[in-house]
Subunit: 381 residues, 2 copies
């Protein structure tokens, strides 16, 4: 029986992770759940899964303590206690399902405590991948990505010699704007952008999918997770999102991982690794799909992708600046303050303004993050 | 340095195997070459690769001995000596590139001698897969298939737990008749049938590709090579022949192997396994392909496929009967004696006439083979 802590249990990944644990209740048990805002759902999840620990925003703690007074559960502060939670000796696996850079603290805490870490969050790795990977190596933590693309690469590499790897082909559905002409980008509403064709996800990541910034983040993420040169990561648009990614081996052979678009599969694999267990999902039927398509990304139409790849190559604290500026700009877009096309323009300006720093310790990352957020707000304001 | 024996060096697989060895001449050396008919090419291959042994048909031996009198090479009889050649202590790897059931003797000899065996031939495994696999197991021989589909399955399984395997998806280009209506099958000429859209191969196998009998043989082959139930082997038509086959794991995840359609890749992999080395082949560019298509096989249009699957399920000596009857019928078709549609009709009749036998020792196989050939000839005549 393994104890699973789910950071961000009320988002789509968190909810799916709970479905997986319910499905595999003989082998996994919920030890902790956290939710920033959605304390009502956290309450019902707590009633159902009986975790030992929960955490939410300070303002919801009073309500939750009262509501759950009949249940034995320790309530914690989501802004202060996630690092502690992730390091608790009872925790075997930490599923990082919460979005944003706030995941960095518990992520680092989990790898320092040698846990199995299943990240769906990409910001933490984008901004501090080097730090996370070196701490994981030092402390014997195992990182098994949940993100469908990174999980696919991980699955393709399974049992293979790392030296046989020549390239990674990261697939991208293409987001909501794949078939929208660049000319009409200026007229795009928040609603247009949030209509992702394949995956149901949070708002922030759906916007990043539309701009392909999300794919750029994944390039940075793959670089760290699989110790790759950015030059060896190729992005290919694949609208059906059936091939979740591919690796190319020294001899030219390509190994691809395919599956139905259901996050329960990579989540379950991260939990059961290195074993595989039945998921109960309908199998993928390629003949029913008929055709799978592949095309090159249009870097002119989606400048965020080339910006992110460029940032990935430069490294240092620049990915952190990219992420912070993008977070602020996307929020401004979602609030109707700026147009969709303005997001990448703003982010690029901030990236260009940043003075490169060689050291990327946690403190440098925090400083760069803070600087980028302030600068972006100023620029938008 | 590993010594490679190529049985059937003048056919398309044999020629490609020599290209691979030329490319990897630091690690591999030709120890033996054989050719049934094409003694002229065998002569020039011998001059170039300087094998220690060659074999050809008795009638060509006189010419070859004379022509190669200045070269130190031992000449052997291709009909009598292949078993001996495959068991020579100097031989490390046996590439079985010769077509037909004649490959069975050297195949058995190679596995009994604990060699690495790289079969491109499918008849031997179709007719005596059980025998070959049990002898390979007993004598520590390693079979690394060269056939692109079986190689793909082998590559997908690499490093994985066999217990995680749920299903195999065997891809089929669909052969020359994929887009030809069933109605016009009766008018098909030998030339129509030999126009395979993807692979340049021998005549016999191109006819079998058109009828999908070849895919049926591969179902039988996969059953033996990977110890599968026939029910767990699914055939999917994939005209582009880029995905060479797939495995489906317990959790529903599908792992596929893709590559350009060049036999040098699976041949090289069989030689270098478990290592991978650069091939010098152009990499696969999925975005250039644009679309990959998948469809269900039409069992009514291609009755040979359902016949072969049925035979695979029944087992015993029946696959041997299927193969022998098909060999005779295809030859009759190539000689203009019967129509294309008659091939499967004839084969099915012979299969139905065969009295099942429980034992499948070499003797039973030989008897079944002989019986089926005679019966088929009678039926056609």
């Amino acid at each position: 029986m393994k104890n699973v802590l789910i950071l961000g249990s009320t988002g789509s990944i968190g909810i799916n992770a709970l479905k997986v644990i319910e499905h595999l209740s003989d082998s996994f048990r919920v030890i902790g759940l956290t939710a920033y805002n959605n304390y009502r759902l956290l309450e019902s999840q707590t009633r159902k899964f009986r975790p030992k620990y929960i955490a939410t925003h300070e303002k919801n703690l009073g309500y939750l303590k009262k509501a759950l007074s009949g249940i034995k559960v320790k309530t914690m502060d989501v802004e202060r206690d996630l690092g502690l939670m992730a390091s608790l000796p009872e925790v075997d696996i930490v599923v990082i399902a919460m979005p944003g850079s706030a995941a960095l603290i518990p992520f680092l805490s989990a790898v320092r405590s040698g846990k199995i870490v299943a990240p769906a969050n990409k910001e933490a790795i984008v901004i501090a991948g080097g730090l996370i990977m070196s701490e994981a190596g030092r402390n014997g933590a195992k990182i098994i990505p949940v993100d469908s693309e990174q999980s696919a690469i991980f699955q393709c590499l399974e049992g293979r010699n790392k030296t046989d790897l020549r390239k990674v082909h990261l697939t991208a559905s293409g987001g909501a704007l794949l078939n929208t002409s660049r000319k009409s980008f200026d007229k795009l509403t928040v609603k247009d952008i949030l209509a992702h064709p394949r995956w149901k996800m949070g708002k922030k990541i759906t916007v990043d999918s539309a701009s392909l910034m999300n794919k750029g983040f994944e390039v940075i993420e793959a670089k760290w997770l699989f110790d790759l040169s950015v030059e060896d990561i190729n992005v290919v648009i694949h609208p059906e999102a059936i091939v979740h990614s591919m690796i190319e081996l020294t001899d030219g052979s390509i190994i691809a991982q395919m599956a139905v678009t259901d996050m329960r599969l990579p989540i379950q694999y991260a939990l059961t690794y290195p074993k595989r267990l039945p998921t109960g999902l309908r199998p993928l039927d390629l003949a029913q799909w008929g055709k799978l398509s592949f095309l090159r990304p249009d870097f002119n139409k989606f400048p965020a992708l080339s910006l992110a790849i460029d940032v990935a190559k430069k490294g240092g604290a620049l990915p952190c600046v990219l992420n912070a500026a993008n977070e602020v700009a996307v929020e401004a877009f979602l609030n109707g303050e700026i147009k969709f096309t303005k997001i990448v323009e703003v982010v690029e300006k901030i990236v260009l303004r940043h003075k490169p720093c060689k050291s990327v310790k946690l403190n440098d990352i925090n400083l760069a993050d803070q600087w980028a957020r302030e600068e972006t707000k100023k620029l938008i304001g």
